[in-house]
């Protein structure tokens, strides 16, 4: 048995900033190690590859105890934008790219970027709604074919 990981398939299912970044970092990090990587965006995770949304992804300020912010305050209009702005600033200080730049970077590393067919149909989206790095809209079965022989990471 081999003690190295040869392939990973990362599923991104959430549409918040903190829901999207971990999967992007895992996929990019895999490619940096020479590991084959595919990214599969499903449900609200599709926002990360949707043209009109991927520049406007926000931190979830409600129901997010890690922020140490009173829940009522998290719901006040504008707070999410403010917190997102602060977090983006902190991330850029450690050279984390923005989501659009990150998607382009990951695609350039040779990782495959795919959208989930069921979610795409449900949200009435087409390939035209996605960034050009998206290779295809695939079914869950096709995803498993792509993922065969590797590890699957669900985020």
């Amino acid at each position: 048995m081999s003690d190295t990981i040869e392939k990973v398939s990362v599923i991104i299912s959430k549409g918040s900033l903190e829901g999207i970044y971990p999967g992007l970092i895992m996929a990019n990090g895999a490619r940096a190690e020479g590991i084959e990587a595919n990214l599969f965006f499903t449900f609200f995770g599709l926002d990360a590859i949707t043209r009109k949304r991927f520049e406007h992804v926000k931190v979830s300020t409600v129901g997010n105890p890690g922020l140490h912010l009173p829940t009522m305050l998290g719901g006040v209009p504008g707070v999410s934008s403010l917190v997102t702005h602060m977090m983006e600033k902190q991330m850029s200080q450690v050279d984390v790219p923005s989501i659009p730049e990150f998607i382009e970077l990951i695609s350039d590393t040779g990782a495959g970027i795919y959208a989930c067919k069921l979610s795409v149909d449900m949200f009435h989206l087409t390939m035209a709604d996605f960034v050009p790095q998206v290779k295809d809209i695939i079914t869950v079965g096709e995803f498993y074919e792509l993922a065969a022989g590797g590890q699957i990471i669900f985020t």
Partner: protein, 105 residues
């Protein structure tokens, strides 16, 4: 740590094959190190990256990550992966005789 002989010189490498002492490295060792990593011929473009790695290491004490390489070496991320398919920063560091770059992005 183990010792291996490259270009007639004994050098110290760690368990993963990275140089313990980058000053032991010479350009003549690079083609042999590259072959070990499945790169048969080092082109001028490979050398652009390798020299950049050495320079970065000399200046900062650590090698650049793929993202930094793509932004500052003059070689795009796409081309970096064509040159060093099994991980550009990692492979280039190994061939350039510097420690493995540590960075999550």
């Amino acid at each position: 740590m183990t010792t291996k002989t490259l270009d007639g010189v004994a050098v110290d490498v760690n368990d993963e094959g990275f140089f313990e002492h980058p000053e032991q490295w010479t350009e003549a060792m690079a083609p042999v190190l590259a072959k070990e990593q499945g790169i048969d011929t080092l082109t001028d473009r490979h050398w652009t990256v390798l020299r950049f790695m050495r320079k970065e290491y000399a200046e900062h004490g650590t090698g650049p990550t793929v993202r930094v390489l793509g932004k500052t070496s003059g070689v795009s991320v796409k081309e970096l992966y064509e040159l060093f398919p099994k991980g550009p920063a990692k492979l280039a560091a190994r061939i350039a005789g510097i420690p493995k770059p540590r960075g999550c992005i």
